[in-house]
């Protein structure tokens, strides 16, 4: 009798265990980071947050592989093949070729890549791209209005479109400020016509972030926009030492006031590229079976891009400037202000 009672209980426990493990492994989203690493306070971390948000909201599994060098892209993508991943999210323009190769070799595997648009599109790859210049335009206008020296600085990681689009928008925003207010604010570090400027040629070196910021500061810049993932943390360290009266930093990708809490006071604002929300959205479509290859564009209008709150600078930025920014934002969304020319 006792044995008979026990058996169903044991079976029930076994069944419950079995169910819970199958439920947990029912849907898995895998992510391959770029060389900046999962904890870069910026690009990769934001994209990974999207996977974690999806994990919390949808109860899925999320895994990641970090690329330590560009030569890891193929190897990392390979080790995710074999049916364990329901959707593979690759993070970064530089992974474009590797993702394409993997997608063509594995046509039944769903892929999504942050920052790359294939032309023509690949049926099993959804590209996520961002009109970051719209948000950077606002940041450029804000920085031009706040700068005391009338000189802004910017530098990038590598001269590739997802980086330079920040710099394009930033310069355009500063120029728009000049046109509206009859001012003469200069932006050092990027020439949008010649497509040339300052680049560290990596997304890793905090030392480079510091020395590039130092050079721009020596040239008179008092607000700097580093567009190079964790490299900008080095620039923030310099601003921290010099004091925010001398140098302020504009964060990129995530709200760096929140992701870099030690140096949060140096960030005037951050240009948000909401990779977390698009990654989460892609995982949702993959889970619900509505996934389609193609292109997903984040804009100011759909909150795919934006600028972060001013936090500590809320008091110091004049109300007029804030009102102008709100008006410009509306203008960009309704199309009356053109960001790109």
């Amino acid at each position: 009798m006792t044995i008979l009672k026990r058996v169903p209980k044991g079976a029930a426990i076994a069944a419950a265990l079995f169910l819970s493990t199958t439920a947990a492994s029912a849907f898995t989203a895998c992510q391959v980071t770029d060389t900046g690493g999962i904890d870069d306070s910026s690009f990769n971390q934001t994209a990974w947050k999207g996977a974690l948000d999806a994990k919390d909201a949808l109860g899925i599994e999320a895994r990641y592989l970090e690329s330590q060098a560009e030569s890891d892209y193929d190897a990392n993508l390979n080790s995710l093949q074999g049916g364990d991943c329901d959707v593979i999210v690759t993070v970064g323009f530089l992974m474009g070729d590797a993702t394409q190769k993997a997608a063509e070799a594995n046509p039944d595997q769903k892929f999504s890549i942050v920052d790359f648009a294939y032309d023509p599109t690949i049926p099993n790859v959804l590209g996520q791209v961002y009109a970051t210049d719209e948000a950077a335009f606002l940041a450029g206008y804000l920085a031009a209005g706040v700068s005391k020296t009338g000189i802004l600085g910017t530098f990038g990681g590598i001269n590739i479109p997802p980086v330079t689009i920040f710099m394009d928008g930033f310069v355009a925003g500063a120029n728009y400020y000049n046109a509206q207010n009859n001012a003469n604010v200069m932006v050092l570090g990027w020439d949008p016509v010649a497509r040339e400027g300052l680049f560290t040629n990596n997304f890793e070196s905090l030392d480079d972030g510091r020395s590039f910021a130092q050079n721009l500061y020596d040239e008179g810049a008092d607000i700097i926009l580093p567009v190079a993932g964790p490299v900008g943390l080095g620039s923030a360290a310099l601003a921290d030492e010099l004091g925010t009266d001398a140098l302020k930093i504009i964060g990129v990708d995530a709200d760096q006031y929140l992701t870099d809490p030690d140096k949060k006071h140096v960030y005037l604002t951050s240009i948000l590229k909401r990779m977390d929300s698009t990654v989460k959205a892609v995982i949702e479509t993959a889970q619900s079976g509505t996934f389609e290859g193609g292109l997903l564009v984040g804009t100011l209008a759909n909150d795919g891009v934006g600028i972060a709150p001013l936090h500590d600078f809320e008091e110091t930025v004049p109300e007029d400037l804030k009102a102008e920014l709100a008006a410009i934002r509306a203008g960009i969304i309704d199309g009356s202000i053109k960001v790109a020319n």
């Binding site: 330590q68 030569s71 190897a75 990392n76 080790s79 530089l94 001269n159 590739i160 497509r195 990596n202």
Partner: protein, 383 residues
């Protein structure tokens, strides 16, 4: 001042080299120490994971993943071998230099420029049949690697500049030179503003060996190149006249000179051979795996190869085994990260620990006295 610096460098490099080259006959240092070093490193790696709040189950899982990802499947073996190819090639070059008494830190730079030359040769000569195209591209890599390394050799022979310093500096120059070259219009890929080279045409690619089984298997014909190089270096070092000169001048440069060997020529020749092998490592990487050159394509292989050569006790077979171990750690580390969510940085820590223990055989012998007693008795019998 500079002379005393040179002497200090010489002495410390010699001390390190002596340990790697003289211990080779000793079964204990060649086999037992590395095996224990790996065990201790894995154990300490586990302790480090514990210290960073990883629970025991995850640690167990991560080591299972390490084994599974390195040798547990065909794709794991393919990844291990793929990662080992450039490490062994560059490691052989370094081992050869160590034998000749040259502590060459420059494999990274030689590998970068050799790889770059292979890519340029590959796309410039597009249209050739592969039987000519592939060897020419490989040869270009070896040649440029050799030339670049022989700069350091020549500086040492002609001016006495220490190769440790000159090769480190040449590495730094090669990084920037690569950045510059990748931006030149005839090298840079069309339509890109970032530093990236044109792609390698198919006829210059090292063919994939297992892609008929599964297109994701990356093992390429470079594995034959690796094995051939092991045989060649073994022959060169232990069977050829020039190899004897390398070893003689490494053991005792003065005696070699009095025996009538031209020390300057030997230094340049040893550096050039080492550079050719490093250049070949770069070429096999771009022609077999990457298909193009980008700024960081060497991924530190040239530095890891130093550890491979030291661990292999500068013996060609030892280098092969050490390279396979490092390849296995790289492939397994990926699986470890995936299955257990353990950081890839931990693999670097374990690799570093292995090297520390191998570099300190006395430490391992103190930790595991019972592992060595039997051997000592056996030796005592013959004495």
């Amino acid at each position: 001042m500079s002379k005393s610096l040179n002497e200090t460098l010489d002495r410390s490099a010699k001390a390190l080299l002596e340990r790697t080259t003289h211990g080779r006959q000793d079964f204990e240092t060649l086999v037992i120490v590395p095996v224990f070093a790996v065990i201790v490193a894995l154990f300490l790696g586990g302790l480090i994971m514990l210290a960073t709040n990883v629970d025991l189950a995850t640690i167990g899982k991560s080591y299972v993943a390490l084994a599974r990802g390195s040798v547990g499947s065909l794709s794991a073996l393919s990844e291990t071998l793929t990662a080992a190819i450039p490490l062994v090639l560059a490691g052989l070059g370094l081992a050869l230099g160590f034998r000749a008494g040259l502590f060459n830190i420059g494999a990274e730079g030689q590998l970068l420029l050799g790889g770059m030359a292979a890519v340029v040769a590959a796309f410039m000569l597009d249209g050739l049949p592969w039987v000519i195209h592939l060897p020419v591209a490989l040869l270009a890599g070896a040649l440029v690697g050799a030339l670049y390394a022989s700069i350091a050799g020549w500086l040492k022979a002609a001016t006495g500049a220490h190769e440790v310093i000159s090769t480190i500096m040449l590495n730094l120059i090669s990084f920037r030179l690569l950045d510059y070259l990748l931006r030149q219009p005839f090298i840079q890929k069309e339509g890109r503003a970032d530093p990236i080279s044109k792609s390698v045409p198919e006829s210059a690619e090292l063919p994939r060996l297992l892609d008929w089984l599964d297109p994701n298997l990356r093992l390429h014909a470079g594995v034959f190149l690796m094995l051939a190089a092991v045989g060649f270096v073994h022959w060169l070092l232990f069977r050829s006249k020039i190899g004897f000169a390398f070893r003689a001048s490494g053991e005792n440069p003065h005696a070699a000179r009095y025996a009538g060997m031209k020390s300057g020529l030997i230094i340049v020749a040893a550096m050039a051979t080492a550079g050719a092998l490093a250049g070949l490592a770069g070429a096999s990487q771009v022609l077999g795996v990457l298909d193009r050159a980008t700024p960081g394509f060497s991924a530190g292989i040239g530095f890891d190869a130093i550890a491979v050569a030291l661990m292999g006790r500068s013996h060609p077979l030892g280098v092969l085994l050490a390279g396979l171990l490092f390849g296995a750690l790289e492939a397994g580390g990926r699986q470890m990260q995936l299955d257990a969510g353990v950081s890839i940085d931990l693999i670097s820590i374990i690799q570093a620990l292995i090297i520390v223990f191998i570099a300190a055989p006395l430490l391992v012998k103190t930790l595991f006295p019972w592992g060595f007693r039997a051997d000592k008795k056996a030796k005592g019998g013959t004495q």
